[in-house]
Amino acid sequence: MAFTVDLTTDEGISLPWSGHDKHFVLKKTVDFSVAANKLTTDRYMALFDIPGGVLVTEVIVKVTTNADSDCDDLNVGSFEADATPIIADGFIDGGTVYASTAPAYLRDPAGETYSINNGTVGFVRATDWVLGCENQDAHDLVKGVFTFIAICEDLRF
């Protein structure tokens, strides 16, 4: 038996080829005790501009310094450029940013829209969007140092 159509043309034999080096990691550290970074309830922070065609598979938050114990409910998700939520809690929903032992990694691998498990394994779309976070707690987020880490794959090559 033979393939009716064979388009392999040896691609894949001598990996990596032109599709290598398209995995990358975005990081940004935010100190919420800085006045300009404070977030009141239901306010949004824009973190990264994500181009159309880039798949963000997971967002992990490293809590380096805790938030106050009364402010413990953080969402991470997707937004339009004008801050309209697409899915504001697609990556992390109600994340605990007051960790008992900091530093700690905060993940939400199951149960959210973009989750690796039971979700869409990240988010990609054809137009640019903004990866952002939301203070969902009733208290102001005025303390804590968090590093936002987005694991990405550039599908545009």
Binding site: D21, K22, F24, M45, A46, L47, A83, A104
Partner: protein, 157 residues
């Protein structure tokens, strides 16, 4: 509507940038006829730095173990060699394979394999250095077979 805080600073627009080249694979081949492992003994394979996410550990059985040795686990241990989750990556897998070479994966969480890609945490990242290790859970000594251990990693540091 607008973002309360905008920290995008065009980061992410000109991908990839300095966050590329953070995906890697670590591999090690072990000849168990040289490195015997009795029941419940543990082999340290890779020292994993804090902040490195190990997504999955695959095993390539190049030469089969003896047919009386049929179970092993792969998981995480502290630097002091205390189990964190000794079967987090692979649980109760089989080093005896009738047809070799063959890849052995454990992508789904059952009652174990907590780090599984499916229904698990999709890997493990820790704020302290740790060791990726292998346990012979069979009652017989593992004294035959050549196995390659492959850890798929993302450096989040």
């Amino acid at each position: 509507m607008a973002f309360t805080v905008d920290l995008t600073e065009n980061v992410g627009v000109a991908m990839p940038f300095d966050g590329h080249d953070r995906f890697f694979v670590v591999k090690k081949t072990v000849d168990f006829s040289v490195h015997n492992l009795a029941n419940a003994e543990i082999m340290g394979l890779f020292a994993i730095p804090a902040g490195v996410l190990v997504r999955e550990v695959l095993v390539k059985v190049i030469t089969s173990a003896d047919s009386d040795t049929t179970t092993f686990d792969i998981g995480s241990f502290t630097i002091a060699e205390v189990a964190i989750d000794a079967d987090g990556f692979q649980y109760n897998q089989n080093p005896y394979q009738a047809t070799v070479p063959v890849y052995v994966r454990d992508p789904a969480k059952d009652t174990n394999a907590a780090y599984a890609i499916n229904d698990g945490t999709a890997g493990f990242v820790y704020t302290s250095d740790w060791i990726l290790g292998f346990t012979n859970t069979d009652t017989q000594t593992l004294d035959h077979g050549v196995i390659e251990f492959i850890a798929v990693c993302i450096d989040l540091r």
